[in-house]
């Protein structure tokens, strides 16, 4: 499944009320490391079933970045039942991102 672009309008529906766990990638177009990990995030989105991958452009969605206290990008959050269960700052290899979601 392709990743979903999150705005403040679809956040509640896609993330907070999601029935399946969500990996949220906070990124921005000017952020080099974000661009570098973007293909990995897409791969995870296509390959891993049972989760949803969402992307928040912090430049456009400053409220959402603020809501989660994001002060450094890339930031990845793993959200289950509307709650952040794991978070990770900076670019990480695919294995580390999968591990963060307890997927091997």
């Amino acid at each position: 499944m392709a990743s979903i672009k999150i705005t403040k309008n679809n956040f509640t529906q896609e993330v907070e009320n999601s029935k399946i766990p969500v990996l949220v990638d906070f990124w921005a177009p000017w952020c080099g490391p974000c661009k570098m990990i973007a293909p990995v995030i897409e791969e995870i989105s296509e390959e891993v079933s049972g989760i949803k991958v969402c992307k928040v452009n912090v430049d456009e969605e400053q409220e959402l970045a603020g809501k989660f206290g994001v002060m450094s990008i890339p930031t990845l959050l793993f959200i289950k039942d509307g709650k952040v269960v794991r978070s990770s700052i900076g670019a990480k290899p695919k294995e580390a991102i999968l591990r963060m979601m307890d997927i091997k």
């Binding site: 080099g32 002060m71 990008i73 930031t75 670019a91 290899p93």
Partner: protein, 287 residues
């Protein structure tokens, strides 16, 4: 534009350069000196060399070999790196582009140990001004550093922040900082805050409040460059596979910056492997 930029002119970087150049590709080698090897008085455990050579002489010979193959040496300090289809390496005096990058910039022997730096990483402590300056628009921000690298980060921050204070932590100022930056030269005891960083306490007991601190102490180290590029690293050591590839295509690393045993022989071997991986990458890219 060159085929490969090699950051670092120690044994790993020079060894990589030999393989790149001998394969017919061009290489820019950027570095200030020959690294830790230059400081070794005598090399006694290197295959085929019987103890009559100093580290400095070994570096000189390696460099001469690379020069004979027309390797382009640039004596400069790397302050930034980015990717936009090609790689761009920014130094104090210029910008250089390449199709691939080999990071061989050595290991920093001293590590910055100020309480709060690890704890607040991503919570007000940042290692990448270009990535994170946005979050500190209109805020009072501190910058830990005192040299050209800090100046480079300051230039990213100044247009956005309300105020910028340079914390030298007692280090000598080695760059020409603009007047609008306030300079505090006292040694830093710790960074404090509740959930996010709120300020610094100095060793003399005084305190200063700010919303964020950018770390650019000394020169840009391998781990700093990795963070800017999105290459994974662990505690300043770049993560590589057995062929010295990082997890980002086109970026390779070799020598002390990948951790391990810090031996010349290992650096030379890793430099060769990184170069061979870079050559395969270039062949595939050009295919």
């Amino acid at each position: 534009m060159s085929d490969v930029i090699i950051i670092g002119a120690g044994p790993a970087g020079l060894s990589a350069a030999l393989y790149i150049l001998r394969a017919g590709y061009s290489a820019d080698i950027i570095g200030m000196d020959g690294g830790a090897l230059e400081k070794a008085e005598k090399i006694e455990n290197y295959f085929g060399i019987d103890g009559l050579i100093s580290g400095k002489e070994l570096v000189r010979r390696g460099r001469a070999q690379v020069e004979r193959l027309n390797g382009n040496f640039i004596k400069d300090e790397v302050v930034g790196i980015s990717w936009n289809g090609d790689f761009e390496v920014e130094t104090v005096n210029g910008i250089f582009a390449s199709k691939a990058v080999i990071i061989a910039s050595g290991a920093s022997r001293k590590k910055l140990r100020i309480k709060g730096l690890n704890e607040f990483e991503g919570k007000g402590v940042s290692y990448c001004a270009v990535c994170d300056a946005f979050f500190f628009r209109g805020k009072d921000v501190a910058l830990l550093g005192s040299g050209e690298y800090a100046l480079h980060e300051a230039q990213e921050l100044l247009p956005l922040v309300k105020s910028l204070t340079l914390l030298t932590d007692g280090a000598e100022i080695k760059a020409d900082f603009p007047d609008e930056i306030k300079i505090v030269e006292k040694p830093v005891e710790m960074f404090f805050g509740k959930n996010i960083v709120e300020g610094a306490r100095f060793k003399d007991g005084s305190e200063m409040r700010f919303s964020g601190v950018f770390v650019a102490a000394g020169s840009a180290k391998a781990g700093d460059l990795a963070k800017k590029l999105g290459v994974s690293e662990d505690n300043g050591k770049i993560t590589v596979d057995e062929n010295m590839r990082t997890d980002i295509p086109g970026v390779f690393a070799a020598g002390d910056c990948t951790g391990g045993v810090l031996q010349v022989s290992v650096s030379v071997g890793e430099g060769a492997k990184a170069a061979l991986s870079a050559i395969s990458f270039l062949r595939e890219k050009n295919a």
